[in-house]
């Protein structure tokens, strides 16, 4: 069977008024790989994620996920198809426990409605058990089982990032989009998160991430796409990107983020 790319983006464009935040980007991401998107601030990376996740419709172009055209689909449908994401700022319910935060993650794989709640149906009880089990499982996966009953208020930034990963994992995704997973955490923690990302891939989840930390990207990514002013200026292995003169000029050579 011919290799079908996990995600096939063709001529993707998003215009806000006169500004093309993403301009004619075509790229394919393969399953089981770590794909990175880099670029200076304002290059359109997060917009690119928003388009893939369905959070906003593209102005032009198509997005195919596992061979299915998902262009313009609502984000909740795309999530059910198997694309999960994390956000630059972790959004969690602070006054609640870690485990409680994760239970809703598996909601999209359940059917219970209000009526099930009123009559306390068997379906609801089974599904709640399933969601709870899945929450415990993903918490274990990210290595935070010992914090299950801690309040989000009381855990560190890195731990919050892990909880956000776990929440995305609870949706049973094929592909996870990570928006600056290592933002605001120290180098050692960054290394730990990188190994967690590798672990996700080993468990059959494909990853696509936006990141500014070059060390992390270069050692982690299988493939890198570079965006600048909404356009794809390069694509390749970390080795190729490092030596690409266009990239060096547009990004590495001119941007202080390199040192970050």
């Amino acid at each position: 069977m011919a290799e079908q790319p996990l995600l096939k983006i063709s001529n993707l464009t998003k215009r806000f008024g006169g500004l093309a935040a993403v301009n004619d980007v075509s790229v394919t991401f393969e399953a089981g790989k770590i794909n990175a998107i880099i670029g200076p601030n304002g290059a359109g990376k997060t917009t690119f994620f928003n388009l893939v996740a369905g959070a906003m419709p593209p102005s032009d172009g198509t997005i195919e996920f596992q061979g299915m055209d998902v262009t313009g689909m609502s984000p909740d449908r795309i999530a059910r198809l198997g694309i999960a994401r994390t956000f630059q700022t972790t959004m969690l319910f602070e006054q609640s426990t870690v485990l409680d935060n994760l239970i809703v993650g598996h909601r999209l794989r359940t059917q219970s409605r209000l009526w099930d709640v009123i009559i306390n149906s068997k379906r609801l009880r089974d599904e709640e058990k399933k969601c709870r089990a899945r929450a415990a499982e993903v918490l274990d996966f990210v290595g935070l089982s010992h914090l299950a009953n801690r309040f989000i208020l009381d855990i560190s930034q890195e731990e919050r990032k892990r909880v956000a990963f776990a929440l995305a994992m609870a949706t049973d995704p094929e592909l996870v989009l990570l928006d600056e997973p290592a933002g605001g955490i120290n180098p050692e923690e960054t290394e730990n998160l990188a190994s967690l990302i590798r672990k996700m891939v080993r468990h059959g989840i494909s990853v696509c991430l936006i990141e500014h930390k070059m060390d992390m990207i270069m050692s982690l990514a299988d493939k890198i796409m570079v965006l600048d002013h909404g356009e794809k200026i390069a694509e390749g292995t970390p080795e190729q990107i490092k030596n690409d003169p266009v990239v060096i000029e547009a990004y590495l050579g001119s941007d202080e983020d390199v040192e970050a």
Binding site: A53, G54, A55, S74, P75, D76, R77, A79, R80, A84, R85, F87, M91, L92, F93, Q95, S96, T97, L99, D100, I103, V104, G105, R107, L108, T110, S112, R113, L114, D116, V117, I118, N120, L124, E127, E128, C131, H146, A148, N149, R150, F151, L153, D154, L167, A168, T171
Partner: protein, 342 residues
């Protein structure tokens, strides 16, 4: 200390509260107190409704008082002008609340945050204007007089204060029971995810519109039924019932007691009702006391009395948990109790 805290959050506490509710008429010093308490319970039901859409689902609905008035007017007009008995009119009030909630919801919930709040503020005002100006239907400023009381089926007489008190208590318990079930369920967790953020909820595969409309309809149904009960006890209603002040009263009860908590609406409503009774002689000036208090509360206890208590207790429990790590069963139990819902 911990024993007191645990008791306050335990199921036994709920039984104590219920017993207190049942015994209250025996210890009340006057029938007036029982009447005030019954009215407070009715408002508490409305506050529970607001808590669903605003507390759990995070959408500030400023038309809540309007839906409460619609429920009251449904009973008033159906019994007085159309000769319905109270109970069918009561059910109709719930249905009307739900249907209008659905219609308003599918339009207004397309808006987010402040826009939604402002839109519903306008909806509330339109409801007020309709009630005041549409004289053929609503009797306008004259209001609706001699509304039918709930029929007692030959057993009790609900025009008496004490039987009516128990009737309202019954509905309050039912209202709380249903909310407790919803809030702990996957449906409640879905609402909570929306409250954290629309984007997050959608990224978790949650259909925003469907769930927001569900929460909105539930809340307007509660408001409609609470309004219907009010019509059944005061027996006289006027358009002032739909004034925005009632919406803000309800929001105040919710904020003081604890937004997004199970017992918050009850605590807030009872507390403010009785404080208001105590300072009644101050009349309008009591706002000089309430205003600053509310500001202080919102700044320092944004989750209200119950929410602050639950967070405090939950963190306390969690910080002690590692000491007895082997007791995983205890931990699981705690997570169920200490959750967001208390």
């Amino acid at each position: 200390m911990d024993r007191v805290l645990n008791f306050l959050a335990s199921p036994a506490m709920k039984i104590v509260l219920l017993a207190a509710g049942i015994l209250f008429p025996l210890v009340a010093s006057s029938e007036y107190q029982i009447y005030v308490m019954a009215l407070a319970f009715i408002w508490a039901i409305a506050v529970y409704g607001l808590n669903i859409i605003t507390g759990y689902c995070g959408q500030l609905n400023l038309a809540h008082g309007g839906f409460f008035a619609i429920g009251a007017y449904a009973v008033g007009l159906l019994t007085v002008d159309y000769g319905w008995a109270f109970w069918p009119a009561f059910i109709a009030a719930g249905v009307i609340g739900a249907v209008l909630g659905f219609l308003v919801g599918i339009v207004s919930l397309r808006l987010k945050e402040h826009y939604f709040a402002i839109f519903t503020l306008c909806v509330g005002f339109i409801i007020y204007l309709l009630i005041e100006k549409w004289e053929e239907l609503t009797h306008g400023t004259l209001g609706v007089i001699s509304i039918a009381p709930p029929e007692g089926f030959g057993l009790v007489d609900f025009t008496e204060t004490i039987p009516f008190y128990y009737l309202v208590l019954f509905f309050l318990v039912l209202a709380i029971w249903l909310i407790s079930r919803i809030s702990r369920s996957l449906v409640g967790r879905t609402f909570l995810a929306i409250r954290i953020s629309d984007d997050l909820a959608q990224s978790l595969g949650i259909n925003l519109m469907r769930n927001k409309v569900l929460a909105f309809v539930l809340s307007t149904t509660y408001a409609g039924l609470a309004g219907a009960l009010l019509a059944g006890v005061v027996r006289f209603i006027g358009p002032d019932l739909a004034e925005i002040t009632h919406t803000f009263d309800v929001i105040t009860y919710l904020l003081v007691g604890g937004i997004g908590t199970l017992m918050g609406p009850l605590v807030g409503t009872l507390l403010i009702t009785w404080i208001t009774q105590a300072v009644q002689s101050f009349e309008e000036y009591r706002m000089i006391v309430f205003g600053p208090l509310l500001v202080v509360l919102v700044i320092f206890m944004p989750r209200g009395i119950v929410g602050t208590f639950l967070t405090w207790r939950g963190r306390r429990l969690a910080s002690k948990a590692p000491a007895k790590q082997s007791a995983s069963r205890v931990e699981n139990k705690n997570s169920e109790e200490a959750g967001t819902h208390g």
